[in-house]
Amino acid sequence: MTEPVSGAPTPPATVSVGEIFRVFLLLGATSFGGGVVAYLRSSLVGRHRWLDDTAFVEMLSISQTLPGLNATNMAVLAGDRLRGTGGALAAICGICLPGALVMFVVGVLYGHHAGRPAVGATLHGVAAAAVGLVTAVSLQIGRRSLGHLADVGFVALSILGVHGLALPVPAVLVGVGALAIWWHRPRQP
């Protein structure tokens, strides 16, 4: 099922499911600010040499095409490459466990303290900062994937669909998606 890919080195035979879990757990606990992909690259390609750069970039492009968070898709693809289904499961559990536990605790605390004015005011500030952070990170990621001027048009159409026309996200995804795929359709040489 996980035949080695030509051009990429065969993963080191010594990587165990436990090691995969440990490395992704550490990544899940130490990566901040929506830039998990950069942390993944420096760990998997740099520090541990489990993947080469070509394999990493290809996995990233698959991750961005499919639904799912980039970080969890990358974990599944890298884990699968290293140790098959067990590796994929270990990787996604590892990378999500710390953040999920933190947010569980946040949910509990929020239930107890949300009524306090100081908490509301602080979170209002956090929310404003989050808008700036998320928009900046989205633009940084987005800029890289736009090749044609037409792509900017598809971006605008999608935004217009969701906000101007208040269409449901799936309708925009299918409608504008089909149009954009048709635009980029394979042409006969």
């Binding site: 961005q64 968070l69 953040g99 947010m103 946040v106 989205s138 999608s158 906000h163």
Partner: protein, 174 residues
């Protein structure tokens, strides 16, 4: 406990919309959790989402907090499994097929076509978040400052969010 199956269905559905990143599903997340099922209020959703930006790991793990608010520990677990499971399975299967699709001329078209749509959906999510979070000029100023600092400097984003928290505490109390 009767809410658990509904929670799972909603978050499994939302996970299928996260093209390019979790933010693409935000407008639909807002509609379903706030307007349709009334699991939380709009400010609560925006608070939890924003705190989620400071948590380690993938930035949409804030869904865990929604699960906790709605159904306790079991709700949290149900939401995480429902939100991550379906796309993990899809990625596992398509990841293995990917090489075999190499000769298929539409593979590239699908990839290049979906890229701008996912960027648009993510920016659409940002607009939804901004509409809820930017309620006055202080909030707008914080957002613009963080936006510029993220693009222009290498300051750790978590520090910027903490800065926003501090300004919020001073400016919005009372």
């Amino acid at each position: 406990m009767t809410r658990i199956p509904t929670l799972m269905m909603v978050f499994a559905y939302l996970s299928l919309l996260t093209f390019g990143g979790g933010m693409a599903a935000f407008p639909e997340l807002e509609t379903l959790t706030v307007d349709v099922y009334h699991w939380l209020t709009r400010p609560e959703l925006i608070h939890l989402y924003s705190v989620g930006q400071t948590a380690p790991g993938p930035n949409m793990l804030m869904v865990t907090a929604i699960g906790e608010r709605v159904g306790g520990p079991l709700g949290a677990l149900a939401v995480v499994v429902a939100f991550l499971g379906p796309t993990a399975l899809i990625t596992l299967v398509i990841g293995r097929l990917w090489r075999r699709l190499e000769g298929w001329p539409w593979r590239d078209a699908v990839q290049r076509g979906l890229a701008p749509v996912s960027v648009g959906l993510i920016l659409g999510g940002c607009i939804s978040l901004a509409r809820g979070a930017l309620t006055g000029w202080v909030a707008v100023a914080i957002a613009i400052a963080v936006f510029a600092l993220v693009l222009r400097t290498r300051i750790n984003p978590t520090l910027l969010v903490m800065g926003g928290a501090l300004i919020g505490l001073i400016a919005f109390v009372g």
